[in-house]
Amino acid sequence: MVSPVRAELRKLLGLPTARVALVLGTLLAPVVVLLNAPYNRRALAAGTLSDPTQLGLRELGVGLIGALVLGVVVVSSEYTSTGDDAPGARQLTATLTAVPHRLRLLAAKTVALVLVVAAQAAVTAAGTLALTQALHGEYVPLPAPERVAAAILYWVLTALLAYAITLITRTGIVPLTLLILNSTVVSVSYLLTKLTDLAAYLPDIAGAHMFLRTDGFPVELAPVTAGLVMTAWVITLLAVGAVLFHRRDA
């Protein structure tokens, strides 16, 4: 099991898109904290910022695009053709020659992705929260360790969500469009919560409740429940993706 994981890690970290996603995804949140610093300082001093205790955790969200891209390219790179002169050849053929047991391959890919995204999330969270402390320490207390852990878990689960959808669609365009559209300020899922209370159980809305509290929501999920809801989504989609990957012609 160790050598397929090592191989998948090398493949993932060798992709130019993945490298850009790693660097940008890690830097984005701290840069936003810096850019927002003058505004936040004024709002904190005036006491107009809503729930300042969550400031650092809230600003983490922008970096999530890096985790999304990582989750997508770990699959989609297998399906892009290797070159103009052999348009039918895909990397997946070589991968399956090396590791013919498909579910084992999938397990190795999943482990590699989880390791990379968890490391990225940990670095980003540490950097963003440290920066928030340095800039606004007098107003913003350091969040509890379990909330930071939940934020890291949210990154990993989001990357796995993108990964599972890409396993089903085999193209990165669909999951990226869906998930980037949903990470905008007023997300589609948020709009749906105004339509039906059930939307509170969508993966991104539920997942964010693991470490953030928002007022005015129809259904307020407790952090652990929220985590279980998002995990259930990820496991369901991963199971569908795994069955398809196992049965479909590669």
Binding site: V62, D84, I173, L176, I180, L181, V188
Partner: protein
């Protein structure tokens, strides 16, 4: 004329474009319904779904431009048939605009008419068509679908809202302000699109066509 007809056929036979159009319509209808239930009728409610629906048009532009550079190097065949690059690029832009226009008009109608904001339908149609051309131009420079989608959606849906929220004055200069506030952002949309089209045409005319 032959070039335009050939480009038109290529566009109309791409299955991914048809899927994008159908999904965009479905998503717009769902959002229009959601806004219809939760917000009072009016121009703002009519334009709001378009803020999201434009994602479909960005993808449309990306897929169109990236199709030529996919595996198999269709661009080589295209250039053997039509070696003059600037007229070719012009034909591509015109056919894409012609194909997008009805899709955009339908989307704009789905979004604005139920909310009683019908006066904005033509403006919204023009905006969505220009956005598609902008996305195609940017992807013509990037030459790959996935980076194109991440770049454009990241700018439109993550960077744009952040900038607007903190520096309100910058809104008039962003290409996507016109989606929600047509009177304010129209000039920026037109300028950005034209600049991207010119840049894409110059790049296309001068760069090695088959180089990834």
């Amino acid at each position: 004329m032959n070039t335009a007809r050939a480009e038109l056929r290529k566009l109309l036979t791409l299955p991914s474009l048809r899927w994008t159009a159908v999904l965009t319509w479905a998503g717009t209808a769902l959002l229009a319904y959601a806004y219809g239930v939760t917000q009072p009728r009016g121009d703002a409610a009519g334009l709001a779904p378009l803020g999201y629906a434009q994602a479909g048009f960005l993808v449309l532009g990306v897929l169109t431009a990236a199709a030529e550079y996919q595996a198999g190097g269709q661009i080589r065949t295209t250039l053997i048939a039509m070696p003059r690059r600037l007229p070719l690029q012009g034909a591509k832009d015109l056919t894409l605009a012609a194909v997008t226009l009805p899709v955009a008009a339908a989307t704009a109608a789905i979004s604005t008419l139920p909310a009683g904001g019908g006066t904005w339908t033509p403006a919204a149609t023009a905006y969505l068509t220009l956005t598609t051309l902008l996305a195609a131009a940017v992807t013509g420079i990037v030459r790959q679908a996935l980076p194109g989608v991440v770049l454009l959606l990241g700018l439109y849906f993550i960077a744009g809202p952040l900038l607007r929220a903190r520096y309100g004055a910058v809104a008039a200069y962003l290409p996507d302000t016109a989606a929600l506030d047509p009177a304010r952002g129209a000039a920026a949309t037109i300028t950005w699109t034209l600049a991207a089209l010119v840049l894409a045409a110059v790049t296309f005319a001068r760069r090695d066509a088959a180089q990834g």
